[in-house]
């Protein structure tokens, strides 16, 4: 077992601004799955066995412990708790074999959980998603302060999860806090 200690993108404490809470979530392992030519069905079966269902276009399957969402035609992002699934990509590749191309994504993203009554107001000045129309499990890739992000509407009505590029975690958090302050 190796002895290197991972560091979170920011490692900042949860912040509360008005009714809004912004928490960095460093506990998510991620891997993308892209079906090889003509292998979509096999991928679907495997994903179904893992998640209970295959994430549909623009949707997530909020399954436990693994969850996943649609990225593109024949492509999905799978997530799971880091402490139990750090080798998520290998696990998936083992199940999928030559049916899919699997790529580890854990390092690529910073994850923020944003909750609170004013969450929709915050979204309205952050990104072009129809947040008030979105239901639990809806996912939209969008742009926040010029950063390509995924916005996932979680189970609770006032909860979104934002996946953004890890290298810009600081800028993204800054944008979230500024927006929260403006709508608080």
């Amino acid at each position: 077992m190796h002895d290197l200690i991972p560091t979170p993108a920011l490692g900042v404490a949860t912040q509360t601004i008005g009714t809004i809470t912004i928490a960095e979530n460093a506990g998510v392992a991620l891997a993308s799955v892209a079906a090889r030519n003509g292998q979509t069905d096999i991928c679907a079966d495997v994903l179904k066995s893992i998640l209970g269902a295959v994430p549909d276009v623009g949707k997530a399957v909020l399954h436990d412990p693994e969850a996943g969402f649609w990225m593109a035609a024949g492509q999905w992002m799978i997530g799971a708790p880091m402490d139990t699934h750090e080798d998520l990509a290998d696990l998936l590749k083992a199940k999928l074999g030559d049916a899919a191309s699997v790529t580890e994504q854990s390092g690529g993203w910073v994850v923020f959980d944003v909750t609170g009554a004013a969450m929709p107001d915050l979204c309205e000045i952050l990104c072009n998603v129809p947040i008030r129309k979105m239901a639990a499990g809806d996912v939209q890739r969008t742009v926040i302060h010029q950063l390509g992000c995924f916005v996932i509407r979680r189970a609770a009505d006032d909860h979104i999860r934002i996946l953004g590029p890890r290298a810009s975690a600081g800028s993204l958090l800054h944008a979230l806090i500024t927006a929260a302050t403006a709508v608080a």
């Binding site: 276009v57 623009g58 593109a72 035609a73 492509q75 072009n128 890739r141 969008t142 742009v143 390509g148």
Partner: protein, 95 residues
């Protein structure tokens, strides 16, 4: 502008990157005897119509798909949106 993505529905064109004439799908064969002339035409000459125009947009901030959008260059009205890969296959670009 709003581009009605075949899978994702209406999305702001700001999420896309534009490339131009969808004829760029029809890359000539490098083996044909007139390849030089064909590639010159392919790379440089454009119909550039004032009216309906089939053009390539890349959903950079979306699903990373290339789309063929049929758009009126005078009114900006959009009448059709297709996956470029489907168009390419229809043009016989399967391997």
């Amino acid at each position: 502008m709003i581009i009605d993505h075949p899978l994702l529905g209406p999305r702001d064109s700001a999420e896309f990157t534009y490339m131009g004439d969808a004829r760029l799908i029809e890359r000539p064969s490098p083996d044909s005897p007139d390849a030089a002339a064909a590639f010159y035409d392919y790379a440089y000459l454009r119909d550039n119509p004032a009216g309906w125009h089939r053009e390539l947009w890349f959903h950079e901030a979306g699903d990373r798909s290339w789309l063929v959008v049929t758009r009126n260059t005078v009114t900006h009205e959009i009448s059709k949106v297709e996956f470029a890969s489907d168009v390419a296959r229809a043009k016989g670009r399967s391997k």
